[in-house]
């Protein structure tokens, strides 16, 4: 069986505009989009560039837009696109370096900005000691869902608010902040709140909800972001009452 796969190419040394190129790829029931890209690079066109590593939806490096929807290339199969055909484009809302390679720099700085690590109670340092930090199942349950993020960035490509304003800290970063705020071992909420409270924090979100739809790990970032709005609103009330700021 063969399927025509169209890819949006961008080769800055050849032309300043992206263009579409189609390839005919043989496939069977187990051929993923990532397999198809590998086939194209190895057999048809060595100039094609794309990212991948684990091939099993864990590393989060193979994100693409497939017919306009953000997806992991290794997590989706050609057999399901026989009717619709396939258009593969680089992940939306990010600068494109070449072909399917995007510049993730802004995503990484956004993640960093929320201090996504345990901040201990007694010092401002992140937890360094080797003492065990025991947790009950209930304490774990509070944040566990929000901790399965693989930093693939698909939610950023799904988020029109990030598309409209790249300064928006975005779904995955806010989810990570919320995840640590919910962790009973962490004492860093006060340090994360200024970011969350700002316009570029939780308040840029209008609950479009598409981020949660495309998330390959069912993290539900939209829920985390909107729970953060409740946290932020509470924080404002506390600061007005003269409590913590």
């Amino acid at each position: 069986m063969e399927l025509e796969v169209t890819i949006q190419r961008y080769l800055p040394e050849q032309s300043s505009e992206p263009f579409n190129q189609s390839y005919t790829v043989p496939y069977d029931t187990s051929t993923s989009v990532l397999d198809a890209l590998t086939y194209i690079k190895e057999e048809l066109d060595p100039t094609l560039s794309y990212r991948w590593s684990c091939r099993m939806a864990i590393c989060g490096s193979c994100g693409i837009m497939l017919n306009g929807k953000p997806m992991l290339g290794c997590n989706v199969f050609l057999r399901d696109y026989v009717q619709t055909g396939m258009l593969i484009e680089p992940m939306a809302h990010f600068p494109v370096e070449r072909d399917l390679i995007i510049d993730m720099e802004s995503f990484l700085t956004h993640l960093e900005a929320v201090k996504p690590y345990l901040i201990s109670k007694d010092s401002k340092e992140s937890v360094q000691s080797f003492d065990p930090h025991n947790q009950t199942p209930r304490q774990l349950d509070k944040y566990q869902q929000f901790s399965s993020c693989i930093n693939c960035g698909l939610c950023y490509s799904a988020c029109p608010q990030f598309g409209l304003n790249p300064e928006f800290i975005g779904p995955a970063a806010l989810t990570l902040a919320h995840r640590y705020n919910l962790d009973n071992r962490d004492a860093g909420q006060a340090e994360r709140m200024p970011m969350i409270n700002s316009e570029e924090g939780a308040w840029s979100c209008t609950f479009v909800g598409y981020c949660s739809e495309v998330c390959p790990k069912s993290v539900d970032p939209a829920a985390a972001v909107n729970q953060s709005k409740v946290t932020s609103a509470t924080d404002l009330i506390f600061s007005l009452l003269g409590g913590r700021s």
């Binding site: 992206p18 209930r138 790249p166």
Partner: protein, 125 residues
């Protein structure tokens, strides 16, 4: 060397999820129209019986009724979306256990019915 495509005004026409989102946001337009009707009604009521019955007549205008029918549909669509968001934004616990999302959604629809019963009783009771 890299390029960053910018979103156009019509980005939301590009996929179904975004169209549904825009539809949800636009439910507030017929709502706003209905609210203006209410404020006008309240004003007429303060101006005496004649003004009040005049307002009732305006409410019978087919175009007004058409928009208010849209407002009714909009309120139901809004309710459908809003009730689903609630358990995600404010997950509730009861006796140490998370209340299930379907239970919370059902509870909110029960609220809609209760209000309906109340208003019906005010008019018919």
């Amino acid at each position: 060397m890299s390029y960053r495509p910018t979103l156009t005004r019509t980005w939301w026409l590009k996929n179904t999820a975004f169209k549904v989102y825009m539809l949800r946001e636009l439910t507030v337009l017929p709502l706003l129209f209905f609210l203006l009707c209410l404020v006008k009604g309240l004003y007429s009521l303060s101006q005496g019986a004649e003004a009040w019955y005049l307002w009732l007549a305006v409410m019978q205008n087919p175009l007004v009724m058409l928009i208010n029918t849209l407002a009714l549909l909009a309120s139901l669509f809004h309710a459908w979306t809003f009730f689903q968001l609630f358990p995600r934004v404010m997950p509730l616990e009861f006796g140490g256990k998370k209340v299930s999302a379907p239970a919370l959604v059902a509870g909110q629809w029960a609220g809609v019915l209760a209000v309906f019963a109340l208003v019906a009783w005010l008019f018919w009771g």
